[in-house]
Symmetry: C2
Subunit: 270 residues, 2 copies
């Protein structure tokens, strides 16, 4: 995005990403008008953004009106929430939502593209998160003090194309590899559980691999890792996190690398 010196609407779900984005964007002079789906998210974002609203997920009319009143044309959708339920009056809780989203992930793409079309009908443009936040998608290289060993590089080179195939088959985007064997594969249980299982089955000292889908749509679905992922790898005793360069986000890279360095884990972007 060449013209970023303007106001952006932020549709904020749960997790660390919306606050992280708000801090980064504000530092870059981007003005953020946030609409949070809960009071908790709203409270967290309020000090970080130009204006913050808390609007129930079941009130798309009010959300659109708020953005229009604020003269917003571009919005970004961030955080863990099922964007398709924007158009549903109510739902159980985030855990149920996450589960529901996972379970419907095959249809997710179509539904979310439907939501984006609805948003565009309202005159709003949904931005690509990778273009907005390019700097948090690390390029090729080792981010940590510890470099992977030759044997670990072999596991990385073994694992990356397999993880890409699984991602492109719309299964998971995370695997754990050891001795050129796929130890665990993420499906809908989520990254952290797949990593924990892989570390346990490997008895630690394994290589975690995280990749994007070839046709990843960065408007609504961004593969990423953060401090929590790194804590999982640390407690599981993993040796390496290998990520696809330029296509997987690190939220709070400073903290992630610090945890990795202390745990002597290598982070490698390939």
């Amino acid at each position: 995005m060449s013209d970023i010196e303007k106001k952006i609407g932020l549709l904020a779900g749960a997790g660390e990403v919306p606050a992280y984005f708000s801090r980064q964007a504000t530092q870059k002079g981007i003005r953020i008008i946030a609409v949070s789906f809960s009071d908790k998210i709203h409270a967290e974002l309020e000090p970080l953004v130009e204006k913050s609203y808390s609007i129930g997920i079941g009130k798309p009319g009010k959300i659109f009106k708020t953005f229009k009143d604020e003269n917003i044309t571009d919005i970004v959708m961030l955080g863990k929430v099922d964007k398709k339920i924007i158009f549903q009056p109510s739902f159980f809780d985030l855990r149920a939502v996450t589960f529901f989203k996972s379970l419907l992930s095959q249809e997710d793409k179509i539904l979310l593209l439907g939501v984006i079309k609805e948003i565009e009908k309202e005159g709003l443009n949904v931005l690509d998160q990778k273009e907005l936040l390019g700097e948090i998608f690390p390029a090729k290289g080792v981010l940590t003090k510890r470099k992977p060993s030759v044997k670990e590089m072999e596991d990385i080179n073994f694992g990356i194309p397999i993880a890409k195939k699984l991602a492109d088959m719309e299964i998971g985007q995370t695997i754990v590899v050891k001795n050129k064997t796929v130890v665990s594969v993420e499906a809908i249980e989520g990254t952290d559980k797949a990593l924990a299982r892989g570390c346990e089955l490997s008895r630690g000292k394994c290589v975690a691999v995280k990749v994007s889908r070839t046709n990843q749509d960065y408007r609504y679905d961004v593969p990423g890792i953060g401090p929590q992922t790194m804590e999982s790898l640390k407690s599981g005793g993993a040796s390496v996190l290998a990520m696809e360069a330029g296509r997987v986000m690190i939220v709070d890279q400073e903290k992630v690398v610090e945890v990795a360095n202390r745990a002597k884990i290598s982070i490698v972007c390939v």
Copy 2:
């Protein structure tokens, strides 16, 4: 195998398969000389076979001599044991062995083919279990009273080619599917754990899929399910077990189908 009216050597590991095979073979008039890797297996097989020996896994010389003294030329390797450690003096326990085997599964093929070559050097021929036991690899059709619904057939048809791809990538051979989403993928944790995870994440009512690898070598590695698998599916609340016809073994089909019928699970071979 056309000429089965002869003596066969059985190299027996743990699990229900060696005893099952011994019963079936004896009924068909095949004479079995069993070499079991533990006294426990030996005690179980002794009443079922013509002769039974218990020889430690670290004594291949004694094993070969026993088979030669018994004029055995054809052997079959059955049961859960790492066949490659036949040539190692000692090992921890079966759990460690199973783990070790799982972890090395990429190299397993090469190592086991090496073991088979060693065995062949001794003048012994390792038999294909599918040819010996053709009748326990069910052909196309529904084995249970309950037939899969149209929606379940869609999940089966969705899941089978995905499971085949994963199997051919040397990952697992079992997946759980629901609403055209892959809910869990087996890697090295084993079939039962992948099924339990898939059932839990699906909240039951899911389709379990089990397939063979395209180049499955049935001399040392046979994909199969048995009563224990069916009990896992029952307690997980699964609706359907879909297997690749003619290439996946059912151990104790009568009991498996009985459990499935009581639990209203469909077993479908496609």
